[in-house]
């Protein structure tokens, strides 16, 4: 019964085939009813009649008030008719006037066109228009896509070929400091919502001819631009092929954020662990590209995806590599401890206080007994209550406007920290445990793995309350078994540790100094491990150090 219901829900909606003949587009009586699909548009050729083309485009786009159709005559003796079509607001009006309209209408006559020998369109392209980025469009799909991307489409009567002149410029957010990944030391630029800006930010940091950007368009309706970036020669070609294969099979209505893609390209969709890193920082993307990973940039969001992602990549932050290595190592170790605490502390507390009191030092046990005296709930209920309150406050604090958010945290601190303890509903030790867990979970550098920890804490707490430390161990082992089987784009999730790559341990718990980071990760950069010269350790006795070439 339930399965049948679910089946109904999961069943794909039947694709509606567009009805009506395609060729009769011109005579379409009610153009507003017509739905145009990309496949159809690919079939429609640009015809040599300007009027035909304009009618067709008007049928497709004409209802929109922001699409401008401008007819004019070329400034030559023949007075050939022509038209430009563009979306108002997506193009640079100055450039349109000065680099396209002015030369076409006023100056094209002086260029000396020979109508007998030359092709008018080629002539216009070569000698009249001063815009730099010009492409041809022979089918309507190219033409319409170009227009919607902010290009100017130039149609000339008698030519079965249109020109797409890219002078797009629209209002977009400036490059600002990334909000979700703040560093004390390091570049302050973050990605924006504009794909081209984002690729620029990467290219500016990586001036190698081997940095490759490849474009995709995903989304039946939104037709969102997606760019994958990788460094040829470092990345393994199989990896790039796999990323492309997984992206190409996505057939979805719209892509508004890279999270849409993430769910399609994960290896295990049921795992609570994130298998793709997301970042707002171009420097982080470049660092991972140098390790032989692939970045996926999506138009309309500042969050880039990085694949493959192992567990340890979620524990690394860009600043680890900018700060001196001794301090980075210490902070990273602290982070691993905090990671363990954010996952385990409440469940350990429950297990030990309800099953294994003999493990607690005597004095602590007496303090504990005194603190719990009169508390009406068992430790599990107490813990669940406090965790729930804490998570609720956290969620409320994130969503609310900043001014209200602070008020919430004050109320929360008072309610949790003071009133609940004084009322004798929870013990003060539980408040401390929940608070430490909260602080520890804030130390996770990756928001998505912190979310996983927040989630997994609860089943572990239940296990602890039923089976004690044995239950906690069972939970941890189940998690480890799952993690050991998990892969991200074919790379084992626990890579560097299991399977063990001793050479890569220099970037797990410790962050080795840069002069010792002489090889790239074994799993991602299999083909080209050597990333820098060896023996670069600075020494006071040999000023200048040894010079060694190589890449």
């Amino acid at each position: 019964m339930v399965s049948r219901l679910l089946k109904k829900i999961f069943k794909k909606a039947p694709e509606k085939k567009p009805s009506g003949p395609l060729i009769n587009a011109r005579k379409q009586p009610e153009p507003d009813r017509r739905v145009y699909h990309a496949e159809e548009l690919k079939q429609m050729k640009v015809s040599s009649s300007l009027n035909n083309n304009l009618d067709l485009l008007k049928a497709i786009l004409g209802q929109n008030t922001d699409v401008i159709f401008r007819r004019f005559k070329l400034g030559m003796e023949e007075q050939t008719e022509a038209a430009v079509i563009y979306v108002d607001g997506l193009t640079d009006m100055n450039l349109l006037n000065n680099a396209i309209m002015k030369p076409l209408i006023l100056e094209s006559g002086q260029a000396g066109f020979n109508p007998v020998r030359g092709n008018l369109l080629e002539f216009v392209n070569n000698s009249v228009i001063t815009g730099a980025n010009v492409k041809n469009a022979r089918v309507m799909e190219d033409a319409v896509t170009g227009i919607l991307y902010g290009e100017v489409l130039l149609l000339i009567n008698g030519q079965d070929n249109a020109l797409r002149i890219s002078i797009n410029a629209w209002k977009s957010r400036d490059v600002t400091e990334p909000k979700s990944e703040v560093v004390v030391r390091g570049p302050r630029e973050g990605f924006t919502e504009t794909l081209r800006t984002n690729t620029t930010l990467i290219r500016r940091r990586l001036r190698s001819p081997n940095l490759i950007f490849e474009d995709f368009h995903i989304g039946r309706v939104t037709y969102t631009g997606v760019t994958i970036a990788y460094i040829r020669g470092i990345v393994s070609p199989d990896m790039v092929a796999e990323v492309k294969r997984r992206l190409q099979r996505i057939d979805i209505g719209g892509v508004l954020e890279s999270g849409y893609l993430e769910e399609f390209i994960e290896d295990d969709p049921y795992s609570p662990f994130p298998q793709v890193v997301h970042t707002e920082r171009p420097d982080r993307v470049v660092a991972t590209l140098l390790e032989g990973r692939v970045a996926i940039l999506t138009d309309g969001t500042p969050f880039a995806l990085i694949v493959p992602a192992e567990f340890i990549t979620f524990m690394q932050t860009p600043e680890d590599y900018y700060e001196r290595y001794i301090l980075s190592t210490a902070i990273r170790c602290l982070r691993y401890i905090a990671f363990g605490m954010s996952l385990l502390l409440p469940s350990l507390y429950i297990a030990i206080t309800t099953f294994h009191q003999e493990m607690i030092p005597t004095r602590l046990l007496i303090t504990l007994a005194a603190a719990r005296e009169g508390v009406p709930f068992p430790a599990l209920v107490e813990a669940l209550m406090m965790e729930f309150t804490f998570e609720a406050l956290r969620e409320a604090g994130i969503r609310l406007p900043r001014a209200v958010g602070q008020a919430v945290s004050i109320v929360g601190a008072l309610v949790i920290g003071q009133a609940a303890v004084q009322a004798g509903i929870v013990s003060s030790l539980m408040v401390i445990v929940v608070a430490i867990t909260g602080i520890a979970s804030f130390m996770n550098p990756s928001f998505n793995i912190a979310l996983t920890m927040r989630l997994l804490r609860f089943p572990l707490m239940l296990l602890a309350a039923t089976l004690g430390l044995f239950g906690v161990m069972v939970g941890i082992l189940a998690m480890l078994i799952h993690l050991a089987g998990l892969r991200s784009f074919g790379v084992p999730y626990l890579a560097s540790l299991a399977p063990l790559h001793t050479g890569d341990l220099k970037d797990v718990a410790v962050r080795a100094p840069w002069w010792a980071m002489d090889s790239r990760p074994a799993e991602t950069a299999k083909l080209n491990r050597r990333g820098q010269s060896r023996r670069m350790k600075p020494s006071a006795s040999k000023p200048g150090g040894r010079q060694e070439g190589g890449n």
Partner: protein, 425 residues
């Protein structure tokens, strides 16, 4: 069609897993009261257990429970005066009789509101009367067998009434049990009593040669109580208690019965032979006069036992190496001269030798029990002969010839080389 089927089966499986998971979750939440689940506040944490003999061959158990209510919720602590004007005591003592210890303890649940929890038992006190007359055999089994009992719990002999020993007021710790535990923690500051954990004690109990021993606890009058009874009372403070607890000397056992007692001096002699002196003050006479006037602080010591069998006689050489600091002197000494130090070292060796000999005399002549581990030393060196000897070791032990060799060093002499002397003119 087959794809569709496959799809359906997959969904069926997922639903099964979800339902199973929900069921498990339900069971886990509702059945959270597992058989060994207990909240901290349900525990009656036992801090000390006393065992006395009662009439009719029964035993009386005195248990000291923590009373968390009196400790307050984090703040305060120790209870600053209850509603009735009297402070709630942070512990409660319960006394109960039974034929066996386990019966007595189980019987206590008829009067104790909480589940008695022995894992944090700090100390087991056996009354002197019990161990002298009836022996340990009948009481130690429970402490050995019960899984809650730890082998690290101190076992000591209590002089006098255990109920009053476990209820001496004026402790700095939460409970009198912790007070005893904290006092024992400082045993190396004097090395004047030899105390055992129950695990080691039980090992000695079943040893072929070495006999068990452990420290004795007693109450003594508190000399800090002001002579004038009005003193300090006017401002409402709790007065000094009339009695205090002290660990005093070592009880010596033969098999499971206590047969004798070693004083502080003799106890240290025992510890010297066993190589367990780790600190304490050693007093020696000054080089010129016979009066005791110099105190040395023991830093560390090491002991070696070397047995030898010659012409049917057992000889044991006890060689002690000791290092100390000069801590105090009542007479002026010229410490710049190496001879003075040399002399002090000789006097110190002599003092240690005397301590050891006093312990040897007591153990060999008076009690006839080998608490030193001589038998084990012989066993190690002469395993073949030991087979014959072990049966008559109690008879052989008093006749063992012991030679004591002491080697001492004085490391430092403190901040002054020449003590302050009143000006003479």
């Amino acid at each position: 069609m087959s794809r569709n089927n496959c799809h359906m089966m997959k969904i069926n499986m997922i639903i099964k897993i979800i339902v199973l998971g929900l069921l498990l979750l339900g069971v886990m939440i509702t059945q959270a009261a597992c058989w060994d689940h207990r909240e901290v506040e349900q525990l009656g944490i036992v801090m000390a257990t006393g065992v006395e003999s009662a009439a009719g061959g029964r035993v009386r158990i005195i248990m000291q429970n923590v009373n968390p209510t009196a400790l307050g919720k984090g703040a305060g602590g120790g209870g600053g005066g209850g509603p009735m004007g009297a402070a709630n005591k942070p512990y409660r003592n319960r006394s109960i009789e039974g034929d066996t210890i386990s019966e007595a303890i189980r019987d206590a649940s008829r009067e104790a509101p909480r589940q008695l929890f022995f894992a944090h038992n700090q100390v087991i006190i056996l009354s002197e009367e019990l161990v002298r007359k009836r022996g340990l055999q009948e009481v130690v089994d429970f402490f050995q067998r019960d899984p809650h009992m730890r082998r690290t719990t101190w076992i000591i002999v209590g002089r006098g009434d255990l109920a009053s020993l476990l209820d001496e007021p004026g402790q700095l710790e939460t409970t009198p049990a912790q007070r005893i535990d904290s006092i024992i923690d400082q045993r190396d500051r004097t090395s004047e009593y030899a105390v055992q954990r129950i695990g080691d004690f039980l090992e000695l109990l079943e040893s072929e040669s070495t006999q068990p021993f452990t420290a004795v606890v007693e109450t003594i009058p508190n000399l800090a109580v002001p002579k004038d009874p009005r003193h300090g009372m006017s401002i409402g403070q709790i007065p000094e208690p009339p009695e205090i607890i002290r660990l005093n000397g070592t009880a010596v056992f033969r098999r499971d019965k206590m047969v004798g007692w070693l004083s502080q001096y003799e106890s240290r002699g025992l510890l010297w032979v066993r190589g367990e002196v780790k600190g304490g003050i050693l007093e020696i006479p000054s080089p010129d006069k016979e009066t005791i006037s110099i105190a040395l602080e023991i830093l560390r010591s090491k002991t070696k036992l070397q047995p030898e069998i010659r012409n049917g006689q057992i000889y044991i050489t006890v060689s002690v190496r000791e290092e100390s600091n000069l801590e105090e002197t009542l007479v002026p000494l010229d410490l710049t001269k190496p001879e003075t130090i040399k002399k002090l070292e000789e006097l110190q060796a002599e003092a240690i030798r005397k301590e050891i000999e006093s312990a040897l005399a007591k153990a060999q002549q008076e009690y006839g029990v080998d608490v030193f581990g001589f038998g084990e030393a012989v066993h190690r060196k002469y395993p073949g002969e030991w087979k014959e000897m072990k049966k008559m070791w109690p008879e052989l032990f008093p006749g063992v010839q012991v030679q004591v060799q002491v080697e001492t060093k004085i490391r430092r002499t403190g901040l002054v080389t020449k003590p302050v002397e009143p000006m003479q003119w």
